[in-house]
């Protein structure tokens, strides 16, 4: 908001003339590409996605095989010409493991975030659009979920469901699917709250009244009238949620309840080798930690840029 009304009006006129030819989407994309933070973020994320997809076809060694014969000592071997990042306590090449370490994380976390945004958006739209007792009750439940620390509930659910025969029956990768469900469940209320408040800002606008006056159904108003107008905040929420999802899954893996062995997952790797810090052996912890740091910062740089462009 500008202090002087003329300024706002004037920039509005300018914006109008600029968009005469371009759609708002193209304009946003143009602005995004001009943000260095966005470009750096995309580059880093693309790098890790590439590594995760190509995997052991480009890693210097097989990430799952021990190579303790490569250095004269008992593993872990410190970084050397043969092993740039050194080897871990059972002699596996850390560089190779770090390169493949994002494979599970980059599958599990974004799917969980997308799921949470879908369910949360539906829930939030219903709450914000209908208001009344539906909203009152659901809001209290959402409030209760928000008070629960995500990681704690994650630990609780993931440890207690070790023996679920149902989950075992679903598929070979049941652990990761379970993580997806748990993280999605925990993020759904957060998304619902955001979407609800956005819908509250829209539902009383005159275009909604106008739709009611021509006899549109509630479903039509929610999905065709309101939804396109809140897609911006939902996209922002999605990118932010992906960041938090990576954060949460990595933490759960580090705590031993997330992604399981023998995955070269970074959080898991830090967890397995953190005792080595006592023995001054820093490399098995440091490289996966740096990898996580670059990925989450990159994702948040992207989220931040998208947010800035949408809220301009």
């Amino acid at each position: 908001m500008s202090n002087i009304p003329d300024a706002a009006a004037a920039t509005d006129v300018l914006a109008r003339s600029l968009t005469e030819r371009k759609t708002a989407r193209q304009e946003r994309w143009r602005l995004l590409r001009r943000r260095p933070g966005f470009l750096v973020g995309v580059f880093i994320v693309a790098f890790w996605v590439f590594c995760a997809i190509v995997g052991d076809r480009i890693t210097p060694y097989d990430p799952f095989t021990d190579r303790d014969s490569d250095c004269g000592l008992r593993p872990p071997c410190p970084p050397s010409g043969a092993h740039w990042f050194g080897t871990d306590q059972i002699g596996r090449d850390i560089l190779s493991r770090v390169m493949m370490g994002a494979r599970d994380l980059l599958l599990v976390a974004p799917i969980a975030a997308v799921l949470a945004v879908i369910t949360g958006s539906i829930l939030g739209m219903v709450m914000g659009y209908y208001r009344g007792w539906v909203d009152n009750i659901l809001s209290r439940v959402v409030e209760a979920f928000l008070a629960l620390p995500v990681v704690m509930v994650g630990i609780l659910v993931l440890t207690l469901s070790r023996e679920s025969s149902l989950l075992k029956a679903i598929s070979f990768d049941s652990r990761n699917i379970l993580i997806i469900y748990v993280v999605a469940l925990l993020f759904t209320p957060i998304v619902a709250r955001t979407v609800r408040s956005t819908v509250l800002g829209e539902r009383d606008l005159d275009y909604v009244v106008s739709a009611k006056l021509r006899g549109e159904s509630n479903l039509f108003i929610m999905t065709r009238e309101i939804l396109p107008n809140i897609s911006g905040p939902i996209i922002v929420e999605l990118t932010v949620r992906i960041g938090y999802s990576i954060f949460t899954v990595a933490t759960l893996s580090f705590l031993g309840v997330g992604i399981q062995r023998p995955s070269p997952d970074w959080g898991l790797a830090i967890s397995e080798s953190r005792d080595l810090l006592n023995a001054d052996q820093w490399w098995p912890v440091t490289f996966p930690a740096l990898a996580i740091a670059t990925l989450v910062i990159a994702v948040n740089l992207i989220a931040d840029s998208i947010q800035a462009v949408y809220e301009r």
Binding site: A144, P149, L160, E163, F247, A293
Partner: protein, 320 residues
């Protein structure tokens, strides 16, 4: 104001009941054989069954749910299943105290620095200093606490040898000052995470206040920029920052688990993780509910402080 306080507290009690229910339903619905887990695979079936009867594991949903609610009201949750000589609450209280020590230290380190950085960033908006603070804040808050902890342990602990890279129970025999080298790195890891959130919120709140019409009025009165800052901006910028800080105190509990594990710190997390692995449900349920309670109390206090700072907020909340 009092009506508002009463209303707000009553709502919190409803939330507490709901979240206790959520936690109970989760533990009840998940297939976990606590008796077998605690007694071990070799234990004879008879003693396992005796365990189940003793702790009411065979009771129906409402009997077990009722016990938990009664425990919440009387604040007597019975004994731990794993260590039946230990009552749940004192068993949790000790490590919680240690965790609180870490959290308070982190807040002491981070609060003034982040508030100051946020103000500076707002004052030098869109300049290099601002961009730097925003970027550091973004990085600090996006990296999981355990990763920050691990990197700090390697950097400041192992390489620079400034602080102890791993906590040791030996520290507990020392004075509080003597403990600092052991506490410093876990506290810093937490502090960095909060720095990002608080500084960014302070910056946003300050910018919103600086752009407001009432600051324009104050400037036009002839107030200097420092007078404007002190008398008109700070009070208005404080509200969103206080909210964020209270929410962070809540999430502290989450983030702190990772940090405690990295540094082998014998806090709340160890009890929680042990209870989870063992299926020690009374301890697990109460641990989760207590951490939610911490969050709720923090946000409650924050809301009250904001209502006190900003009379308009009282109105909004009263009608909510």
């Amino acid at each position: 104001m009092w009506r508002y306080v009463v209303k707000r507290v009553l709502l919190s009690i409803v939330t507490l009941w709901l979240l206790a229910t959520i936690v109970f339903v989760m533990t009840w619905a998940l297939p976990s054989d606590s008796a077998r887990l605690i007694l071990g695979a070799q234990a004879p079936e008879a003693s396992v069954e005796a365990f189940r009867v003793k702790f009411g594991l065979n009771d129906g949903f409402f009997a077990q749910y009722g016990r938990l609610l009664k425990g919440l009201v009387t604040f007597d949750f019975g004994v731990s299943w794993k260590y039946p000589t230990q009552e749940v609450w004192p068993y949790l209280a000790k490590p919680l105290e240690k965790t609180a020590k870490l959290a308070v230290l982190a807040m002491i380190i981070t609060a003034p620095i982040s508030v100051g950085a946020g103000l500076l960033a707002a004052k030098f908006r869109d300049r290099k200093l601002d961009r730097g603070i925003v970027l550091v804040g973004l990085a600090a808050s996006s990296i999981p606490e355990f990763v920050t902890g691990a990197l700090l342990a390697v950097g400041l602990g192992l390489k620079l040898d400034l602080f102890e890279p791993v906590y040791s129970t030996r520290a507990e025999e020392l004075s509080i000052i003597g403990q600092l080298p052991y506490l410093m790195l876990p506290a810093l890891a937490l502090a960095l995470a909060y720095f990002g959130y608080i500084a960014r919120m302070m910056r946003a709140g300050t910018i919103r206040a600086l752009d407001s019409d009432y600051v324009r009025t104050a400037t036009m009165k002839g107030l200097s920029s420092s007078q404007v800052m002190r008398r008109h901006v700070l009070r208005n910028a404080a509200a969103p920052t206080i909210t964020v800080m209270s929410v962070q105190i809540g999430y502290l509990v989450s983030g702190i688990i990772g940090v405690e594990v990295v540094f082998n710190y014998p806090g709340f997390s160890r009890v929680l993780l042990d209870a989870a692995v063992d299926g020690d449900l009374p301890v697990l349920q109460v641990a989760v509910i207590v951490s939610a309670l911490i969050y709720m109390v923090a946000t409650l206090i924050a809301d009250l402080v904001i209502a006190w700072l900003n009379p308009r907020a009282r109105l909004d909340l009263a009608s909510a």
